[in-house]
């Protein structure tokens, strides 16, 4: 079920570095912000022919009129993005894909973000807080170090926040999955985004504890809208005649972990 999509000439409102190599970009994009769901993404277009393709980014924050992206400078597209300034125009295609489906009946929600996977979690946390003001929410964030624990201040008021770092510079010295492992609860709904190995561990913990788990995947994308079939990822084979791959952009980016990894 894909929601309405638009190509929107968004105006850059702010674009600032918030940690080494990590930037936050806010865009006036009422067409997209009005319909976006947590976990959905946009394809951001750069002018010129090189880089050629749009780049996918999760929606980090969403207000009535604007969306915010949290991105890491890794290559030529994100380098060009980091050099932009307000009030430049940016072409956005979105909102795309199927977002998280917060369980209404869940006794407790647990959001697990690692590294840049923290990005979509803020929108999700805000959404749950708003739509289910009384629901219990635990937020687990992980990063290599303190500086990579992004947007902590924004998360703090939204739930029970716990953090972990690989180098011990903040919170638990270890993996964010250990924080999850330590939770002792019967009914819980887990939402996760981050590096693939982390998400697989999270999904495995959930399987053992019988928690439902939704994971948000990345994949190399050309179109972001189901047309190129470039973003395939292998899924667990259920029945002999079933398709071998799902497509992150239109079947995801959020999947039930059980569909992917059994």
């Amino acid at each position: 079920m894909n929601l309405p999509q638009v190509i929107e000439q968004a105006t850059l409102l702010a674009n600032e570095m918030i940690a080494p190599e990590i930037h936050r970009m806010e865009l006036h994009a009422p067409g997209i912000s009005g319909v976006a769901q947590p976990g959905q993404f946009v394809m951001l277009g750069l002018s010129g022919l090189d880089p050629l393709l749009r780049r996918p980014f999760s929606i980090h924050q969403c207000t009535d009129n604007s969306i915010t992206l949290l991105y890491k400078v890794v290559g030529k597209g994100t380098t060009a993005m980091a050099q932009m300034g307000a009030p430049q125009q940016v072409s956005l295609l979105g909102p795309l894909g199927n977002g998280f489906q917060p369980a209404l009946e869940a006794t407790h929600h647990c959001l697990v973000g690692g590294g840049l996977g923290i990005a979509p979690m803020l929108f999700l946390a805000n959404h749950i807080r708003k739509s289910q003001p009384n629901a219990g929410v635990t937020i687990l964030l992980g990063g290599r170090n303190k500086q990579e624990l992004l947007a902590q201040e924004e998360f703090a008021p939204l739930g029970n926040l716990q953090v972990a770092t690989d180098d011990g510079s903040a919170g638990l010295h270890g993996f964010v999955s250990e924080l999850l492992e330590n939770i002792d609860r019967k009914d819980m709904h887990v939402y996760t985004c981050g590096p693939l190995p982390m998400m697989k561990v999270v999904a495995e913990i959930c399987r053992k504890k019988s928690w439902l788990c939704q994971v948000s995947l990345e994949s190399h994308m050309a179109c972001g809208m189901g047309a190129c079939l470039g973003c395939a990822v292998e899924k667990a084979e259920l029945r002999p005649n079933e398709k071998k791959y799902v497509h992150v952009c239109k079947d995801g980016p959020v999947f039930n972990a059980s569909l992917l990894w059994l």
Binding site: I7, G45, L52, S219, H220, M225, G230, K243, K244, Y245
Partner: protein, 304 residues
């Protein structure tokens, strides 16, 4: 003055020369938020094979300088599901549909063609003898003039619809192949499909595509595509559909001036999903501003 944008491919009258290329436009529906499909000259759907295919393992796409490599490997729903599920949906859009087909053998091409011959929504069949991303068939037919001729002849006998043969650029002499398919009754020729390329991840020392090699598309290949269109247009009498890196009105005009009857937008659909519709209007405005009344006045107007 009214501008005449129509062009003909055999009996098929296209509203205008702007089409979309196979594999870059899904089954059309994905683009309906951005383009009124019935306003385009035609849409070419993702290549269909007799049996459904899963396609190649990921990663399947990687960007290169002004271009991209893909190794989708012809993932598609297969002929039966296409007819059952996609044709009725396409009929509703009122778009002029071209079906791109691919077989592992001449018999498969025949069987698919015969099945599509019954479908009214299908205005023409584009025969892909140039896919670099599948092991059997595909490009093997497209790089050998005799084989290309045989496929053309076989398909020709199975349908009265226009047959567009889609050629591979990965050949020494594109004109030889074009003449071979012209001799066997092709209605038109479309070119080019992608060029075989590769990219390597220096950290892992692995190819960036799981399939090792893939097809290069996008603005990077436009000069090659334009040269081939010019060569084939000069050497054959068939209508040519120009494809390769087209991403602006200027690009469209270059191909038409070089001798293309129509053109297809490929990779550029990913960059701007609304492009094909914009180009229909852009072309009309351009002709108007230049005081021309028909796009045919431009076609093949190159001065050498």
């Amino acid at each position: 003055m009214a501008i005449n944008l129509t062009v003909a491919i055999g009996d098929w009258q296209l509203k205008n020369p702007i089409m979309t290329a196979s594999g870059t436009f899904g089954y059309g529906e994905e683009f309906s938020p951005f383009v009124k499909l019935s306003e385009l000259g035609g849409i070419v759907v993702k290549g269909i094979s007799l049996q459904p295919r899963d396609g190649n393992p990921p990663p399947r796409v990687v960007e290169t300088a002004c271009g991209m490599l893909n190794a989708i490997g012809l993932e598609n729903v297969g002929l039966a599901a296409f007819i059952d599920q996609k044709i009725p949906m396409l009929a509703k859009t009122k778009a002029d549909v071209v079906v791109n087909i691919l077989g592992d053998s001449i018999e498969e091409y025949e069987e698919i063609t015969a099945a599509l011959d019954n479908e009214d929504v299908v205005k023409a069949i584009e025969v892909n003898i140039s896919c670099p991303n599948v092991k059997k068939g595909g490009v093997a037919f497209g790089t050998n003039a005799d084989m290309a001729a045989k496929v053309t002849d076989a398909v020709r006998r199975k349908t009265g619809k226009p047959i567009i043969i889609k050629l591979s650029p990965n050949v020494t002499d594109i004109v030889e192949i074009a003449k071979a398919v012209e001799g066997e009754g092709a209605t038109a020729i479309s070119l080019i499909n992608t060029l075989l390329g590769m990219a390597i991840d220096i950290e892992t020392r692995r190819p960036k595509l799981a399939n090792i090699v893939g097809g290069l598309s996008g603005p990077a290949i436009k000069p090659l595509a334009l040269r081939m269109v010019y060569q084939v247009a000069s050497a054959t009498n068939l209508p040519i559909i120009g494809i390769g890196g087209i991403s602006s009105l200027e690009d469209v005009l270059e191909f038409i001036i070089a001798g293309a009857t129509a053109i297809q937008i490929g990779t550029a659909n990913f960059v701007n999903p609304a492009l094909s519709g914009e180009l229909v209007r852009g072309l009309e405005n351009y002709l108007q501003n230049k005081g021309l009344t028909s796009v045919k006045q431009l076609a093949g107007s190159i001065i050498t």
